[in-house]
Amino acid sequence: MIDLGPYASFIATSYFAVALVVGLLIGWIALDYRAQKARLRTLEQSGIGRRSGRSPMDIP
């Protein structure tokens, strides 16, 4: 176990804050990707196509 001395709570809170914010950022980006793909799928099902003729779901 690492000995963090008398200010262990400040150090632990700092690392926890970074983990939390980075985790939220990753989660938000992942959920946003799923949401956009779901919207594109709905549009494709309603018969809307891109001007290029390719499917809206044509995501590499």
Partner: protein, 259 residues
């Protein structure tokens, strides 16, 4: 593949799909190495173990300025070259930059309380970073407030370039004014004043966080391209609907008759 090829959003999506798994894997590996080096770094003779906060505070502080610099370059791309992905890059970077700036402020405060005896001091460095954070929030609000992406892009690009004046102020605030915040100890003329025992974990974390930014930025850009594709298709759908509805049955007339 040239920069011009990447101007095509579909090509960018294709490249992002290939790059993202690798970027994510390398970022995780570097974070693990960086955290191990942080955990095993010795205590500082003055700061004790609180020096470990520096290993996460400094990379976040560097990235808070770096991301705005990237956004400023992207804003030039929007205003001067009208690069199709420039605004996408700037818009996608803003929430990530705001997060890094927020973390720089929080971790700095948590280091300041045991070392300076206070969480906050209105000195030039801390205040200018707080202004940077508020500017990030303002920019995100601007993008959300203007519905038309091309109009929002130009306004946001101008605001980003005006805000770029804050970056050298943050960097040199510790030299220009008498601040509680210590002067630069890594990026300075004459080399780093840090001992290798602290410099190596700090640089390892800086590289890991930089790669984390690249990974998140590419993923957020991909999302923004898809969001614009959704918007474009929804407008196409609305135009198609409007052309199908007979003139006498236009929604405004129906709404007017109902009221």
């Amino acid at each position: 593949m040239t920069l011009l090829d990447l101007a095509n959003p579909s090509r960018f999506l294709s490249l992002a799909a290939r790059l993202l798994p690798w970027l994510a894997a390398i970022t995780v590996a570097l974070l693990v190495v960086g955290l191990y080096l942080c955990a095993t770094a010795p205590d500082d003779y003055q700061q004790g173990a609180t020096v470990k906060i520096m290993f996460i505070h400094v990379p976040n502080a560097w990235l808070s300025m770096f991301v705005w610099t990237i956004m400023s370059v992207a804003s030039l791309g929007t205003l001067v070259w009208r690069h199709p992905l420039a605004d996408v890059a700037a818009k996608a970077a803003a929430p990530i930059g705001a997060s890094f700036t927020f973390l720089a402020l929080v971790t700095g405060s948590l280091w300041g309380r045991p070392m300076w005896g206070t969480y906050w001091e209105w000195d030039a460095r801390l205040t200018s970073v707080l202004i940077l954070f508020l500017m990030y929030l303002g920019l995100i609000a601007l993008w959300r407030a203007v519905e038309d992406p091309s109009r929002a892009a130009r306004a946001a690009a101008v605001l980003t370039l005006v805000g770029a004046i804050n970056i050298p102020i943050i960097k040199f605030s510790v030299d220009w004014w008498n601040t509680l915040h210590q002067p630069a100890s890594v990026m300075r003329i004459g080399g780093s004043t840090l001992d290798r025992a602290f410099l190596i974990p700090l640089l390892a974390m800086a590289v890991a966080f930089s790669l984390l930014f690249v990974t998140l930025h590419v993923a957020a850009m991909r999302n923004e391209i898809l969001r614009r594709r959704v918007r474009s298709l929804q407008m196409q759908q609305a135009r198609g609907y409007a052309s199908e509805v007979p003139a006498g049955n236009a929604p405004s007339q129906i709404a007017g008759a109902a009221s």
